[in-house]
Symmetry: C2
Subunit: 350 residues, 2 copies
Amino acid sequence: MDKNKRDSKKITILDIAKRLGISPATVSNALTGERYVKKETIEKVKKLAVDLDYRPNFIARALRSKKRNIIGLITSNIRNPFYAEVISGVEDILSKKDYILVINSTSFNKDTEVKGVKQFNNLLVDGFIFVGGLSDFTHIHQLLSMDTPVVLINRRITGSKYTEITIDYKKAMTKMVDFLSDKGHKVIGYVGWKNDSAIIPIEKYSGYLEGLKKNNLTENKNIIFSKDKIPIREFREYREYAREIYPVILKEKVTALIAQTDSIALGLMDGFRELKIKIPEELSITGCGNISQSRSFYPLLTTINIPKIRMGKFAAEVLIDLISRGKSKKQTIYLKSTIIKRASVADISY
Amino acid sequence: MDKNKRDSKKITILDIAKRLGISPATVSNALTGERYVKKETIEKVKKLAVDLDYRPNFIARALRSKKRNIIGLITSNIRNPFYAEVISGVEDILSKKDYILVINSTSFNKDTEVKGVKQFNNLLVDGFIFVGGLSDFTHIHQLLSMDTPVVLINRRITGSKYTEITIDYKKAMTKMVDFLSDKGHKVIGYVGWKNDSAIIPIEKYSGYLEGLKKNNLTENKNIIFSKDKIPIREFREYREYAREIYPVILKEKVTALIAQTDSIALGLMDGFRELKIKIPEELSITGCGNISQSRSFYPLLTTINIPKIRMGKFAAEVLIDLISRGKSKKQTIYLKSTIIKRASVADISY
DNA sequence: CTGTTAGCGCATTCAT
DNA sequence: ATGAATGCGCTAACAG
């Protein structure tokens, strides 16, 4: 019965050893290549392993050796499409390298985050990846031993001792101002939110200011539309917001708006569309992120591309490297971002 | 030094046993509640466990007992927002019940799927969840032992021996025709794709036909716009498609269009917008799924809600139950779906 | 109610 | 180049 084969007891190295009349240790060595074994023996063992459909028991292996081949990923929200892309990059590399990916979603909640880390600690994961989240990390830091390999993706933390993978948001935003300035825009507004403990938004904002200076444009507080509260549903909130800020935009003769994220930009665009304002003819808008919606809905959004999948892949590779060296490392790696020029910006440099 | 505490050797039940002058087995029993232990002993043990910051070693526990508390989830594509919501539901329940979630994304590729299942088998997961994917399952089936607990979410397979969680797409679509008919629509078209091995699209389509019959509407092949190929990027492809089908829509006096998915509906709407066709004044459109974009972009889409998060939660609960009983079960569970009435449908029943 | 013993499957000494 | 013995941390089986 072929069915029974599936139900029969799992093959272990002992089974292989018996059949071959050798010791389990030799089988182990032959299979993992840790120690020198005669070529023929290796071949015999490997062949039989395939024939018997031997599968190493990860759990037993993990208990014995310190190598687990498990990586824990903690993200604030799996549902965020931005993170989903990052995670798929991570997943891609890990599965290729025979690592197992364990996931935990925290909804920005510290207790949940703590619980997740503890759980992973019990599982004895080889390393951690954090995707997104706030800049506070102390509650997590105290749960990790000094040299646990950790990589943070798009999560900047104050006084970090870990590897952080991000992009230079400040520079990116400055470049965006350059770009708009080149297109003839002189009154460029900014729409976003700020919060002392959120590093990335602050970086973006300061990049915007820097860009104004660099291009000799005057900074005008009236056209910096910054909320203090973290918006939960960016798209919706900023769609409403469009109506609210439009009078100011008219009054101050704003020709272009830089939004802090794509969701904000898309929300604004949709809001303006309701108001019958033509994008980009009457107002140019840019975003940041290059999420898939930004290349779906009309007008296609001019935005800053963040290499999400590549970030994930890269993080996985760096982490595996750290694991092989058994340590954490303090470093910040900036991936390249580029401006994606699409239809939401008008050239008014006539 | 508090720092050293983190790095010091892990506490085991043996440590606790020694300090309390009892046996490790008793500690184990006190902690897991498997066997009867005196109340005071339990309290003493638990207290010391907390004080020493004892953390059970999942790996060791898993090796010894057959309970792993690990669940493997395989999905065709993490990046699909629909699946992301389902997964977040799964994740929510599992983390509450102290299960660990391991994830694998297959990009619809059979080999990758096989590899993922094998990997999970080596990890000895307690059960499997499959989210989405094609209806072929033979390649996976042969890798699973007869009573491995398995739950499929939104993946219908032919001759299944497993628990499937889905909604009654046929009925849902029929109801959508009812709804449109009530609103006075008499010429209702259908836009989607079909493929012999994809059960869900077939169900939807037959629900549409059923609805026509039920409402005494004539079936007209000309206004059934069905692609044979599985579209990779639904939104974009159907945005283009709008232009292609519009002449027929005019000619046949179609007043409403039922799209097979939200992405298709949104793509069509965006395409029609380009053509300056007013939705819903000139043409009503409905979708299926109630993905977040359907409630973001104007006009808000009338669609069929699929309880994605609930599906995930429910699947996790069912799976945990199957695990506790150590078996798989052949059953199909239908979750309730409802029509979400929004702005993309006009009432023309005057 | 609790202790003793054994062993899950594997990789790692230490032998030879 | 290979085998025998040991133990990772925990829980199941069997005693008391």
